[in-house]
């Protein structure tokens, strides 16, 4: 560290400001990132992290401010200029062509000349060298669609390195990774750092910041509130800096008092449109007054489980709710009939499923319940009643701004989620299906959402929680089921297990002595 303190910073931003109309996304932001360090940028959704990085990568032009790369003032009008300045970006959503090979993806946009062959063979050579230098091994001839998410991310990093990036920006890199893959990524980042690369890590996960970064900057509402050495701070302090007030990082809850079985799933199977078996005989039970957490890496059948239970995917097997058999294939296999069975569903993707983004908040309050007699007057919809109901729900769930006439897309992620939660929880369901309750939701809202879920449990409702955030699963659940490859690997009491055991199960490794499922 001492050595680097004298060198010019790899990146220095001075007084960067950017406004989108009336919204000030970045206000007078200055940071210095020393070469050969990992610098974390943490902040809630909408704090302006992505805007700042987009300015650095040339997607937006700053209204004010200067950028210095290695001490030299640099203008970055577009991403070509950013690449030329040695900046590489790994996006949250990978920008890879699925049916191209790794090699083809790496040269995409950086081909030399009109013929592919020379570029490919040149890339193949430098890929081998990069693999040696940084321990980033990939099969250059594998198709992107055939390799795992962790590997795809590696390809993104290689793409940047191939373009001779000295500065790597990673935007929420662990969102789609298993704990093991995330650890692997951090080892790679460590290696890159020791080779002299500079890394900027954007994340909202405090743990990652604490474990990997040298320095961390906290952003709140477009402003940089603090830059501190990671070794001199604590998660609690960072959380407070992010939110602007003290935050409860643990969920307060009493021991569950499970009642009778509400949801009883036996031998549930799902075959998708391509003929792939997504659920391969699921057995699960959820009792009244308990939260069953379903853990697993994304894509191991959790989404399909929620969709079948929610009524918009066909399955076979037996699902009973309150002792009544659900129709899984026929005429009554839709969201409307499920709601009549007392099932409420907060879907995993609120923007694709839970909300109509162009509908007003009040229209979204009726979504799925629009046939409710309370929302009807004659053959017409009773819009006034829906609006009044929305105002109430917005108040109870602290949705901000409390304006029912705003379109759903105008709310922040956390407030959108509160809109969905208010709609579903206030129906007083017997069974709540809830997927990724806090994905893309800021810390302040996470606290509130967790409290609401626990409160519903304490009212004696059954809750099936699906989340890829192991921390969340452990914090909320009374029992944890782990899914892998369309099967339940096992069920554990939340109090009697830990991240390590669940992490192994998520990777498909079971100990020989898996306890039998309770009756």
């Amino acid at each position: 560290m001492e050595r680097q303190a004298t060198a010019a910073p790899a990146i220095e931003l001075k007084g960067i400001s950017k406004a989108f109309g009336p919204v000030q996304a970045n206000k007078d932001i200055s940071i210095r990132v020393m070469p050969g360090t990992i610098h974390g940028i943490i902040g809630e959704n909408g704090a302006g992290k992505s805007t700042l990085m987009s300015i650095l990568y040339g997607f937006y032009k700053a209204d004010k401010g200067e950028i210095f790369i290695s001490g030299k003032k640099t203008d970055i009008p577009d991403s070509q200029a950013a690449i030329a300045a040695g900046i590489g970006m790994v996006f949250q959503h990978f920008k890879l062509v699925e049916n191209f090979t790794v090699l083809e993806n790496i040269i995409l946009g950086a081909e030399d000349g009109g013929l592919l062959k020379p570029s490919l063979s040149k890339a193949r050579k430098s890929l081998l060298k990069l693999a040696d230098d940084y321990g980033l091994r990939v099969d250059p001839d594998a198709l992107i669609q055939d390799i795992g998410v962790g590997m795809q991310q590696r390809v993104e990093i290689l793409k940047a390195l191939y373009r001779q990036a000295d500065i790597l920006i990673l935007d929420e890199p662990t969102g789609v990774l298993t704990p093991a893959e995330a650890d692997q990524l951090f080892r790679i980042l460590g290696r890159l750092k020791s080779e002299g690369k500079t890394i900027i890590l954007i994340t909202h996960k405090l743990r990652e910041i604490m474990e990997t970064t040298d320095t961390v900057s906290v952003m709140r509402r477009g402003e940089m509130t603090a830059t501190v050495k990671t070794s001199e701070t604590s998660p609690a302090q960072l959380a407070e800096l992010m939110v602007g007030r003290k935050v409860l990082l643990r969920v307060d809850k009493d021991i569950a008092k499970p009642g009778e079985v509400i949801l009883d799933i036996k031998g549930l199977r799902v075959v998708d449109d391509k003929g792939v078996e997504r659920l391969r005989g699921i057995d699960l039970q959820v009792r009244a007054g308990e939260i069953l957490g379903v853990a697993g890496v994304a894509g191991n059948g959790q989404s399909e489980l929620l969709e079948v239970l929610g009524g918009y995917r066909i399955g076979t097997g037996s699902v009973r709710v309150n002792g009544q058999e659900l129709d899984l294939t026929g005429k009554h296999s839709d969201g409307q009939s499920r709601r009549k069975h007392g099932i409420a569903h907060v879907p995993e993707d609120r923007q694709r499923e839970g909300l109509i983004m162009d509908y007003h908040a009040w229209e979204n309050t009726a979504f799925g319940y629009h046939k409710d007699p309370a929302y009807r007057s004659g053959i017409l919809m009773n819009n006034a009643a829906i609006k009044a109901d929305t105002v109430e729900k917005m108040e109870r769930f602290d949705v901000r701004p409390p304006n029912p006439k705003l379109a759903a897309k105008s709310f922040s992620g956390g407030n959108q989620q509160k809109l969905v939660l208010a709609r579903e929880i206030e129906r007083n369901p017997d069974l709540l299906l809830i997927g990724q309750p806090t994905r893309g939701v800021d810390i302040g809202a996470i606290e509130f959402i967790h409290q609401q879920i626990v409160a519903l449990r304490d009212q004696g409702k059954a809750i099936l929680l699906v989340s890829v955030e192991l921390e969340e699963i452990l914090a909320l659940s009374d029992r944890v089921a782990v899914m892998f490859d369309g099967q339940v690997m096992g069920t554990r009491d939340a109090s009697a297990t830990d991240e390590k055991e669940l992490g192994l199960m998520m990777a498909g490794i079971t100990e020989a002595q898996t306890p039998p499922m309770e009756a």
Binding site: R338, P347, R352, E353, I356, H370, M381
Partner: protein, 376 residues
């Protein structure tokens, strides 16, 4: 938050688009050595300067209201129904059957019966592509286009081989009986002392079209069905989550759409020609697309856009009649209007949004939450 106030969105954007189209048209007219000012004067006086002109403008507008609504309702379900033309042709067949083979005692009953038949025929013609889309995934744009050709062929066959009166050389049906003659605006306005041109074809169908606009507004914005249609149009995945059946919505939206296109036939077939001829629709089904685009798929917008296009049609016909401006150029002008109001919408919208944003940021800032400096 919306970038622009609603009035700018609804009024300003289409007006500027129209103005741009007018300027470009003027240049084209100048280019062929005619006087654009005189041309505009002629168009206005020809289309709006007399009750005769108004009668034609409103007659065309009635057609465009039906076809515009047809496209609009499908748009709300994110379905692009290009088949309005074919559905309107089939609607004409329905009207002809109703008028020729049922002895109606009074025009009002005939209108009711013919409207029903027109709607059923148009709806059926739209329901087939809808079914193919919903069940088989055949793209509705392709199938509705193909169904336009099939409709034309069906009509051709029917008129030539089945419905042509014996001995007639004209591929058209016999004239409808007098009992099915609809009152024109002249007949309707005479009792209240307004002397409307007798020769103009605008008739009571105009009122049916206006009623259809109102009906559609209620349907889209005030009923559960409209709510479901719009939800499906915005997001199919969300609709599935809510338990809205994509099959049901596709079928219903297209059926209503086809019925509306079919109903156009009460205006052009029953109200004007009083017999079914080949090519009775005269491309109104396609104009409906432009009308729906310009009217933002809102029934009121469709109503206004339909009148504008009625004006362009009638004014254009006058131009062709009284000047040396060739007919083809009228089509160019109409195309420019469609281009600017429909396809190039964002060209006007985006700069306008920027202007509004700049104006807003220049406005004397509201007392910003300035931190009060503590006295030290």
């Amino acid at each position: 938050m919306d970038v622009m106030p609603k009035w700018a969105e609804v009024v300003l954007v289409p007006l500027i688009s129209l103005l741009l189209a007018a300027i470009l048209s003027a240049l084209v007219i100048l280019g062929i050595g005619e006087d654009p000012v005189a041309a505009v004067k002629l168009m206005i006086s020809g289309a709006l300067g007399s009750t005769y002109g108004w009668g034609y403008t409103l007659y065309y507008a009635t057609n465009f209201m039906f076809t515009g609504l047809c496209v609009a309702i499908a748009f709300h379900a994110r379905l692009f129904n290009i088949g309005g033309e074919g559905q309107a042709m089939l609607g004409g067949l329905g009207v002809a059957l109703a008028c020729l083979y049922i002895p109606w005692p009074h025009w009002s009953l005939a209108l009711l019966g013919a409207t029903t038949m027109a709607a059923i025929f148009g709806a059926t013609w739209a329901a087939i592509p809808a079914f193919l889309q919903a069940k088989r995934g055949s793209h509705i744009v392709i199938t509705t286009i193909m169904f336009n050709f099939i409709a034309a062929a069906v009509l051709n066959y029917t008129l030539v081989n089945l419905m042509r009166p014996a001995g007639s050389m004209d591929p058209a049906t016999a004239r409808f009986p007098d009992a099915t003659k609809l009152p024109t605006l002249h007949d309707m306005l005479a009792p209240i002392g307004i002397n409307f041109s007798k020769a103009a074809p605008a008739n009571i169908s105009l009122l049916v079209a206006i009623a259809a606009c109102i009906f559609l507004w209620v349907l889209i914005w005030r009923t559960r069905l409209g709510y479901e249609i719009r939800a499906y149009g915005h997001s199919e995945s969300a609709a599935k989550y809510a338990g809205i059946s994509p099959f049901k919505i596709t079928m219903i939206a297209m059926t209503i759409s086809g019925a509306l296109a079919g109903m156009m036939a009460i205006n052009n077939v029953m109200g004007e020609a009083e017999r079914l001829v080949l090519n009775a629709t005269e491309g109104a089904g396609f104009i409906g697309i432009a009308v729906a685009l310009m009217g933002r798929s809102h029934p009121l917008g469709v109503f206004l856009a339909a009148i504008l296009f009625g004006f362009l049609y009638q004014g254009g016909a006058e131009l062709a009649l009284w000047t040396t401006i060739p007919r083809e150029l009228i089509v160019v002008i109409q195309a420019l209007v469609i281009l600017f109001t429909g396809a190039l919408d964002n060209m006007v919208r985006m700069p306008l949004e920027k202007i509004f944003l700049t104006v807003r940021s220049l406005r004397p800032p509201k007392p910003e939450r300035k931190p009060v400096e503590p006295a030290e």
